[in-house]
């Protein structure tokens, strides 16, 4: 049984550490990227993967109890709402920015074909 306890502890610790690493990646991305959509991408990582892994780690530490069911509900709620919020902000940015080409250059399809050829 001690081995099982150790396995549980290790998996929980790995989950929480991975969540923290994703949070660090999120912070670096939010502060280092210049353009809004890039920063949105970085922020969405922390909200979904980082938070989800942290809460999954706490669930593993808790075991099968009523609080862990609540935490699972929180994970479901976060994964349903946070990407939608990111999607809405990104859509608003795309629709409202006047000069999209300046900050988000898009290559012409014809030019790409020429490069390949």
């Amino acid at each position: 049984m001690i081995v099982l306890e150790w396995i549980r502890f290790l998996t929980g610790a790995v989950c929480i550490a991975a969540g923290l690493i994703f949070y660090v990646i999120q912070f670096i991305g939010v502060f280092r990227f210049q353009y809004v959509l890039n920063r949105m991408h970085a922020a969405a990582i922390g909200d979904t993967l980082g938070c989800g892994l942290l809460l999954a780690g706490t669930v593993i530490f808790n075991g099968f109890t009523f609080p862990s069911a609540k935490i699972l509900f929180i994970i479901v709620f976060l994964w349903m709402t946070s990407p939608v919020a990111a999607h809405m902000v990104a859509k608003l940015e795309v629709l409202s920015r006047v000069e999209m080409e300046e900050c988000c250059p898009v290559e012409n399809p014809e030019d790409i074909e020429e490069d390949e050829a």
Binding site: F77, V84, L92, L95
Partner: protein, 318 residues
């Protein structure tokens, strides 16, 4: 014996002016007290050319051209660091005199919290002592807070509400502009999430006397759900069940109900008389005397306030 004064002398005397004023021939204030436009300024001499001003603007921020700015920026940084350190020292010095957390001889540890902790459950019927304190012992305080919310929304409505439909159309307040409206992703998710949010808010309000939470937090959750519903399905669908008429009725009724319940409780229960709110068994949903109805009133008030702020700032009307 009087002598007739000459006409010129009489014309300049006080009596003559008074008589003219009485007859309405001349108002002494006309021409003396009115606001006059100031005399036009003489054209100042143009010392510099417009291009010179741009040059000055450019050079004024350069340290190499401005010795005073250089010293000023250095002194500024040094003085700000000094002031910060001084403030930190003063605050730390003050904190060192504070009593330790949870100490037995702390000044807050007097007979008031002792009474709350030992007899709160018997007197209020609330398992959650904090709710018992703010909604039973200090319900007058909380009534003031709810009134503040009510007055705040009233002020916002006075300032930015547009009641005239034609004026609203002219100002294009209902127009969403560039905002993404009727987004499929948002609508599908809101369809699933909104009922859960409303249920959770109602759960928090109804369990205010049993678990952490209460009217304020539950009302905030319901208000957030209303905002999500309005943002995803448009204001037309919210107005089916929550328009201006219903808003006024709900809000005023909640405040009045709170006032009446609190008044009745102060007249009877606070004086030890028999009152109609049974304390019930501690731990049941229907227990806690006046706490449950007051929690419901506070919850509706807060939900209405939050949604009204959103709607008023969004489109100038409910």
């Amino acid at each position: 014996m009087s002598r007739k004064r000459p006409q010129e002398e009489y014309n300049s005397s006080l009596a003559y002016r008074f008589r003219r004023w009485m007859n309405g021939e001349k108002d002494p204030f006309v021409g003396t007290l009115e606001m006059k436009p100031p005399a036009p300024l003489e054209d100042p001499e143009q010392i510099y050319e417009p291009s010179d001003y741009e040059e000055i603007k450019k050079k004024s921020r350069e340290y190499s051209c401005n010795e005073r700015l250089k010293t000023y920026s250095k002194v500024y940084i040094a003085v700000s660091i000094l002031i910060c350190l001084l403030l930190i020292m003063i605050l730390v010095y003050a904190v060192s005199y504070l009593p330790s957390v949870g100490g037995e001889s702390n000044p807050t540890n007097n007979e008031v919290p002792e009474r709350y902790i030992t007899e709160g459950l018997q007197e209020t019927g609330a398992v959650n002592i904090v709710t018992g304190v703010i909604l039973n012992y200090r319900s007058f305080d909380t009534f003031g807070e709810v009134t503040v919310l009510f007055i705040a929304t009233c002020c916002v409505m006075i300032l930015i509400m547009v009641e005239n439909e034609e004026k609203r159309k002219k100002l294009k307040l209902d127009d969403y502009g560039l905002e993404p409206l009727y987004d499929t992703v948002l609508r599908k998710v809101a369809k699933i999430v909104c009922p859960v949010i409303f249920l959770f808010g109602i759960y928090i309000i109804l369990n205010g006397h049993l678990s952490p939470g209460g009217g304020f937090s539950g009302g905030a959750v319901i208000g957030a759900g209303l905002i999500l519903y309005a943002a995803s399905f448009g204001f037309k669908s919210t107005q089916r069940f929550f328009n201006e008429k219903i808003y006024v009725i709900v809000k005023v009724t909640a405040l009045l109900m709170y006032g009446l319940i609190a008044l009745y409780f102060f007249l009877t229960g606070a004086n030890g008389l028999e009152h109609i709110f049974p304390l019930g068994v501690p731990g049941d949903i229907l227990s806690g005397g006046i706490i449950l109805p007051i929690n419901i009133c506070v919850g509706t008030e807060v939900a209405c306030t939050i949604y009204a702020f959103y709607a008023l700032f969004r489109r100038g009307g409910l």
